[in-house]
Symmetry: C2
Subunit: 341 residues, 2 copies
């Protein structure tokens, strides 16, 4: 391993001079700078970060916390995509990205503790937002910089977060369905304690209400990614005497499952029933029919959260922010206008 001393010796200057050259300190003659840089190249010098971090009391690294992978949710293409977004800015800023690897909530919590106390990272991004979250509380109590992708369950004004306007998104897409003539519209969502679900559902309810449509209780379904359990729920939905003519689904991946069940039941989309959903992951354009869905700009969600976090870690006085990433309806083929039978 070639250190600062080695190249100091090789060039006949002192280690501190070399250090200054690395930092591009203006009060070093360009002559010696050149000389030193040359030696660095030749000897293959590379700074040792641990030494650097030790003195700098900062690591240019951020931790990314995934939801507990008990959640099958991890299989969602949402994650690679948001990681890509985060990566784009960590990379640009020469930051490093450390991933949580725990499976259960307890494991993850222990990991977060290590990361924070051990000074592994300068800050973290939470890729989920759940009610009453231990990790969020811990981070807050320790005044450790972090940002949440989604909506914090409390202290909204004290926690920087990056989110979509899920309420409006849910409202808009439902209104679109209503504009197409649908009056019996159901909602299928994921876990009930996730804010995305909650917000989108509220938007849906509000749209119904404003249009003077009845909000039927049986039309609300919550399920974890639609395995057998979800199947029954959907079947009961179809068994209703007043079957819905359209469904708002809170996630593209769930839509895929629903699409399958509908096909099993011999129900055609969009002829018999219309579907809309959220996220616009790659999948949504290769299903048949292709899904009308809301593009929430996952990549941007990631990029902006990383950007906000880094800003905060370099300047503690950076104010708390709430960043809303715009969404957009992507019209494809899963909706038809309702024609009275």
């Amino acid at each position: 391993m070639v250190t600062i001393k080695d190249i100091a010796k090789a060039t006949g200057v002192s280690p501190s001079t070399v250090s200054r050259v690395i930092a591009d300190n203006p009060r070093i003659s360009s002559d010696t700078k050149k000389k030193v840089r040359k030696a660095m190249k030749e000897l293959g010098y590379h700074p040792n970060i641990h030494a650097r971090n030790l003195v700098a009391q900062s690591t240019k690294a951020i931790g990314v916390i995934l939801p507990s992978s008990a959640d099958k949710a991890l299989q969602n293409p949402f994650f690679p995509e948001i990681l890509r977004g985060i990566g784009s800015v960590t990379h640009k800023e020469q930051y490093t990205m450390m991933l949580s690897s725990g499976q259960t909530e307890d494991e993850i919590f222990a990991e977060v503790e290590r990361m924070v106390y051990g000074r592994y990272v300068d800050g973290m991004i939470l890729l989920y937002s759940r009610m009453d979250d231990r990790i969020t509380n811990f981070l807050r109590e320790n005044e450790f910089p972090f940002v949440i992708v989604g909506k914090p369950y409390e202290y909204m004004n004290e926690i920087t977060h990056v989110d979509n306007d899920n309420f409006s998104a849910g409202k808009e897409i439902t209104e679109y369905l209503i504009a197409q003539g649908h009056q019996r519209i159901a909602f299928i969502g994921g876990a009930r304690d996730l804010f995305v679900t909650i917000d989108r559902e509220k938007g849906y309810e509000t749209a119904l209400q404003e249009a003077g449509l009845e909000d039927v209780k049986d039309y609300h379904i919550h399920t974890e990614f639609l395995k057998s359990a979800g199947r029954e729920a959907v079947e009961s939905l179809l068994a209703l005497k007043q079957r819905p003519t359209a469904i708002v689904i809170s996630d593209d991946l769930i839509s895929l499952g629903v699409l399958g069940m509908l096909e099993d039941s011999g129900i055609r989309v969009p002829e018999d029933i219309s579907l809309v959903s959220f996220n616009n992951v790659y999948l949504s354009e290769i299903t048949r029919p292709a899904l009308t869905t809301i593009d929430i700009q996952i990549y941007e969600l990631g990029a902006q959260s990383a950007k906000a976090l880094i800003e905060k870690t370099v300047d503690k006085s950076e104010p708390v922010k709430r960043i809303i990433i715009p969404h957009k309806v992507i019209y494809r083929d899963s909706v038809s206008s309702y024609k009275r039978p």
Copy 2:
């Protein structure tokens, strides 16, 4: 920040004693151990890894290199799942996982250089295997510990890698199709320079050959995840006077695309054409029909590669290994036996 010194002062012992307690050194009286541990608890001591790494000349961290995300391939649920596998063992071993974040090959290469030279990590896992790969060469030249998930393009016997027997898998699944009476079987694969594709395709070819079936050139299609370009290819396949009655597809995600196109063309699966594919990601059971596919145990692929890597980083003399993860055909509904029309 509370350091070793603080707790030394608090307990009236020397810093080194504290250090020894942390390492659970046997020649420390259990009395002082207790005393020291108590103080650590009370003062909230946590070791600073950078200090530790600096002296240990090792970081308990591994780098995970994703393929360049120009590849849309990243959207594949394969990645979250393999990360989960890797995470399971890094977590158990108290290791840390650092993710590459570059988008282009050049960016990633620069990152790898930093990680290696800067001693960010003790070793890395490459989540792809491509012909003539710069990063592989670099790692080899620097004798830096790494393992490849997939097959190295050369120096097979000098690079530890974790792979499936993709050749056999391709052969088996094709033989299954043949056993169902199919004689005209096509192959659709991803990028041509990826070893997975190559191996699976060879298995397919061998099966045909052994069964005395003709290997039709027009039956081979290569495409990047089936956007417009892939569509044309598939359409040309269907336009052939001798249309295939079954298709072997090298990835579940591609299958999803093909399924869509087939439906567009009014071709029913499996009645008109049978489909089989690889990976058994979550998706493959929610499509309609559910896909008959080969389970390659993605999670295990990740876990084993992490395990092998960590073993190598702790004991440099650990021999090069080649670990083959078994696969298994998962029979679902995308295949029917061929009946002469």
